[in-house]
Amino acid sequence: MTYVCLTDADREEMLATIGVSSVEELFRDIPEGVRLKRELDLDDPLSELEIVQRLERLAARNVPAGEEISFLGAGVYDHYVPAIVDAILERGEFLTAYTPYQPELSQGVLQALFEYQTVICELTGMDVSNASGYDGTTVAADACYIAKHATGRSKVVLAESLNPQVRQVVRTYAPGFGLEVVDVPHREGVTDPEELRAAAEGAAAVIFQQPNFFGCLEPAPELAAAANDAGALPVAHVDPVSLGVLEAPGAYGCAIAIGEGQGAGNPLAFGGPHYGFIAAREEFTRRMPGRIVGETTDVDGNRGYVLTLQTREQHIRREKATSNITTNQTLLALGGLIHLCWLGPQGLRELGETCMSLAEHTKDRLGLQPVFPERTTFKEFAVRIGRPAVEAIRAARTRGVHPGYPLGRDYEGMDDVLLVAVTEKRTLDEIEALAGALAA
């Protein structure tokens, strides 16, 4: 069998050293009543070749981006991830290491995470970032937890234009946190600051998304101001790819910035693993969940990095921890760091501009009715197509185009609406193909 390291001769010697006569005897403390008395009902072991063949057959039954022209977004996006990301992440010293509990052996991961934290703070305009959360939904729950304990209030307000899965996850965590969750409806595709302000009375936090789930640009500075006026913490859920062209949440009054990092550095991978990011103003440092890497020196005065402020975390603070998170999404966050360094500030700006411009071009070429014509959009927009979106998708896919996400799944009165995402990977020809597929 493939991964076995011991020979029968080894086993005999080892059993003798231990002082038992069989491997079976090593399990003598396990009561008879809980022993499995048959073989596991699994298949025969497969060789590496057979494993690859089996997995290839399964993979062949999927239609990935690349086998059709895809305009599907709605939270995760088909951006171009450069080759160096894989080349670096494949290295065993990163891939097969664990949490850097022993810093002298882990300066590689620790420094990389310190750089990641720095990049996230730069993008979001915040003072402290953790070393990653699970994804763009759980970091919203984290933000609510911070806000509850920082303000002493037990209500959180969510914009309806915030990703529905984010809202659903917050609602799943809320009962355990003792939080009431309130939605503020969108008005023509964005959130009304006055309505938000009213809803935010007595709230611990307000979460809105920029650009929002419809791809529209929210009046984010006014939303943050509305929350601050009500004494609630403004939390912005942002797209890292947009932060070369859109203002950083820290610059317009937000307390916390969160988001899904996937678009920077990770493949789609049918939904994961990806990484969530969470960053905050300095005053929330000790309330941050998860790992944080700090800079220090060693006994000779050399600069080095360590996990710090560990007393926040479960392995020390236990039932009073800021979160139970232990294993996070380090490798994926490193992918994000590498991708963002590869882009640089110019590249990130160009990427944002290109996506935005291609999306505008697509709107023009489609000639369909935008659902929110008054709104500026970033890389996604919602159009009415005059027939059930689900049918249009099926039809378009027979022509090799996946035209977008059916918003009717999450929003009333939108069964004929498609959410179309346009990334830098979409060419002008592909956009023509989309127009053709939807006109049919």
Binding site: R286, Q310, T311, I316, R317, K320
Partner: protein, 131 residues
């Protein structure tokens, strides 16, 4: 840098390793040498607000070292008059001088009779012997 082990006779103790120096109808509170030694060098002190009420036997704040965080228990009840800002700024002061400069809060006693339930230095040393 840490002080030598000592348990002065002029103050009173609580079995959760906190002390109180009674001064008329006020008291100064802190943690004992044993507590700071168990924690190691302190890196953070989370004090109560001025004006807050502290109750005997319940936590009024937290101290943290690199490897542990510990509640600070009030040995006696009262209202917070003053928080020792020097410790907030330099928590290691507690390690250097746990009974002097390392004091944590000053309170006005709400029930001076509670002082009788506190341990003297000898009784506290006995508690330590049981640890």
């Amino acid at each position: 840098m840490a002080a030598e082990e000592s348990y002065p006779d002029d103050i009173r103790y609580h079995r959760e390793h906190d002390w109180a120096r009674i001064e008329g109808d006020e008291a100064v509170l802190g943690i004992t040498w044993y507590a700071q030694d168990a924690l190691g060098e302190l890196v953070h002190y989370e004090p109560p607000e001025q004006g807050a009420t502290v109750s005997r036997g319940t936590p009024y704040g937290e101290v943290e070292s690199v490897k542990a965080v510990s509640d600070v228990i009030a040995p006696i009840s009262g209202e917070v008059l003053e928080v020792n800002k020097a410790v907030v700024d330099a928590p290691e002061t507690v390690n250097e001088d746990p009974y002097g400069n390392g004091w944590l809060i000053r309170i006005r006693l709400s029930d001076p009779a509670e002082a009788e339930q506190l341990l003297d230095a000898a009784a506290y040393r006995e508690v330590l012997a049981e640890q």
